[in-house]
Amino acid sequence: MNLHEFQAKELLKNYGIPVLPGIVVSTAEDAANAVASLSGPSWVVKAQVHAGGRGRAGGVKLVHSSFDASKAAKTLLGSWLITAQTGAKGKKVKHVYIEEACNISREIYLAIMIDRSKGRIAFLASREGGENIEELAIANPGNITKLVIDPKIGLIDEDVFSLITYLGLSETQKEIAQSTIEALYKAFIESDASLIEINPLGLTDEDKLFALDVKMTIDDNAVYRHPNFEKLWDEAEVSADEIEARLHELNYVQMEGNIGVMVSGAGLALGVLDLLNEFGGEAADFMDVRPVATREQIAAGIKMLLADSKVKSLLVVAMGGGVLRCDTIAEGIALACKEMPKHVPLIIRFAGTAKELGELALSNQGIGVDFADDLEDAAHKAIAAIKK
């Protein structure tokens, strides 16, 4: 679960991490009011979407009056912001964050994350931060330092000092940086985060230090431990279809092609997309059925695919396992086909547990299905069905 900048800053502020005063608004009028209640002389108006690269995409504007602030908010609110991390469609801006501006003399990069290869928490830091951090890292990997934390010991002073020394700070800044790093670690653990990225961490001429932008992701598997995070969940950031799919234990992502695809298992689903592509076809979606899915949930998924106007043929690939069986999937398909008036060619490849029962169930129900022998046959048939 991703948090918005304003939500993450609010959370980090409670841990004592220095952030600039700011107010989140959703109308141009409130933007002007926000400026009036904050200190000047300049403010930053920032689009609140779940993606990096907002500055370069025009999603961050520096203003010097409440009039300009409302003008900037008006431009941003309701617009679709396309950044390097949003995909071509972009993300709709529903909120802007108005923050006091300050004079920054230097920008550094500080993040805490899960180091997958070590299976530990790690800090990443760079003496230079900002939006070009990725280019900097590629040009000079030596400019990035990583500190892996041993969970048996936790974060110790020695670790913190080595990070601070690396960053090259003044004595005053060092003190703030130390408490910031310690607070970041505490916030990460207590929030079940999988990423907190402060980029940039701005240093001012007055020897102060502020988290100017924050990206924060909470581990979806641990949200149940934080009932208070439920209100932070922004439905608008995810498509309505994906939210519905989630209710049915399905992972669903819409894509550009015209072959509707439902597969048991995410890995196999990726494999099927690659096969379709290899044979010149293109999937309309990625839909992975979890092993715990019931026939009603499968039916809901099939109905969603049939309701997608892009879909010209429907491919279901199932490898029956010890939990999810082919006959359950077949019953779900039959349920959906009976309820939906729209029909497209249906191609099914069943294998594994209850393959024959599944095939029989569909034949008995009179659902017209083209059964495929193997993955390649299935991909070919799904593509050929469109051309007919």
Binding site: A111, I114, S126, D274
Partner: protein, 291 residues
């Protein structure tokens, strides 16, 4: 003989009395797996599926001398269950549970260091040495005792490889799912080492997917390791939906994670790349030549 589990493996099940655990344990017993007991806190002294149930893993270990534990408990108690088995020095722990919080797994990973336990999973379909021992949720039917070791992150792609190697009469020595989570137990390298040393294994199919750097690390290991056994690799996700990234940490930390990068790394390390999910078996058949 295959790796890690065989005819002599004695298995307990943590969470035995749950509905899914019951069904899968019945099937494991029918398959020939030596199930020797169960652990369910508060139900010690009872019997389930004709197996003795204990309150703690320590009690089960004392009474039934297991070498493996199958964990079928809900996500909030999964880490605790794994750590209990580590502390009781159970050799092989298979955790099927999905959606275990990642910070819990970091604690587990730390508990594994220097322990006598090897962890498979979490979010894994388990491990099977066909004809001998099955621990997990995989379907029995496509498996056939044989010559190929299979290691995968994805369960269903694993079953595809099993199905294909069975159709080609190659069969499987052992098939393992290392799980699809970011922090997990045994990795590709741990499994490759065991398969290289196993006399029953003539070739290995390694199945990766986008995300993380486990495939790149496996490639580094393959480079340094001299072996006659062909390693066939398949990596899924070249055409995956574009990832919605947040921030830059992923790219700043590692320049990998994409399917193409992984395929190139494995290929340059001497692995034979299966061109699609449908060709893992035939690619292995070809790689084995006349063998």
């Amino acid at each position: 003989m295959g790796i890690l589990v065989d005819n002599d493996t004695r298995v307990i099940c943590q969470g035995l009395t749950g509905a899914t655990a019951t069904r899968l344990s019945e099937r494991a017993i029918a398959y020939g797996t030596k199930m020797v007991g169960g652990v369910v806190p508060g139900k010690g002294g009872q019997s389930h599926l004709y197996l003795p149930v204990f309150n703690t893993v320590a009690e089960a270990v004392k009474a039934t001398k297991p070498n493996a534990s199958a964990i079928f408990v809900p996500p909030p108690s999964a880490a605790k269950a794994i750590i209990e088995s580590i502390e009781a020095e159970v050799s092989i722990v298979v955790c099927v549970t999905e959606r275990v919080p990642v910070l819990d797994m970091i604690r587990v990973k730390s508990a594994l260091e220097g322990s006598k336990t090897r962890l498979i999973g979490p979010n894994s379909q388990g491990i099977i040495t066909p004809g001998m021992c099955k621990i997990g949720v995989m379907p029995e039917r496509p498996h056939m005792p044989g010559r190929i070791g299979i290691i995968s992150r994805s369960a269903t792609l694993n079953y595809e490889a099993v199905d294909q190697t069975t159709s080609l009469h190659l069969g499987q020595s052992t098939s393992i799912g290392i799980g699809g989570d970011p922090v997990y137990g045994m990795d590709f390298i741990d499994c490759l080492k065991l398969f290289f040393a196993d006399n029953a294994t003539d070739g290995i199919i390694l199945i990766g997917e986008i995300g993380g750097t486990a495939e790149e690390e496996a490639a580094e290991y393959l480079k340094s390791e001299k072996t006659e056994k062909p390693v066939v690799a398949y990596v899924a996700g070249i055409n995956a939906p574009t990832d919605r990234r947040m921030g830059h940490a992923g790219t700043v930390d590692v320049f990998g994670g994409g399917a193409i990068t992984k395929i190139r790394a494995l290929e340059s390390a001497g692995a034979i790349i299966a061109p699609s999910a449908a060709k893992m078996g035939t690619t292995m058949r070809k790689a084995l030549g006349g063998r």
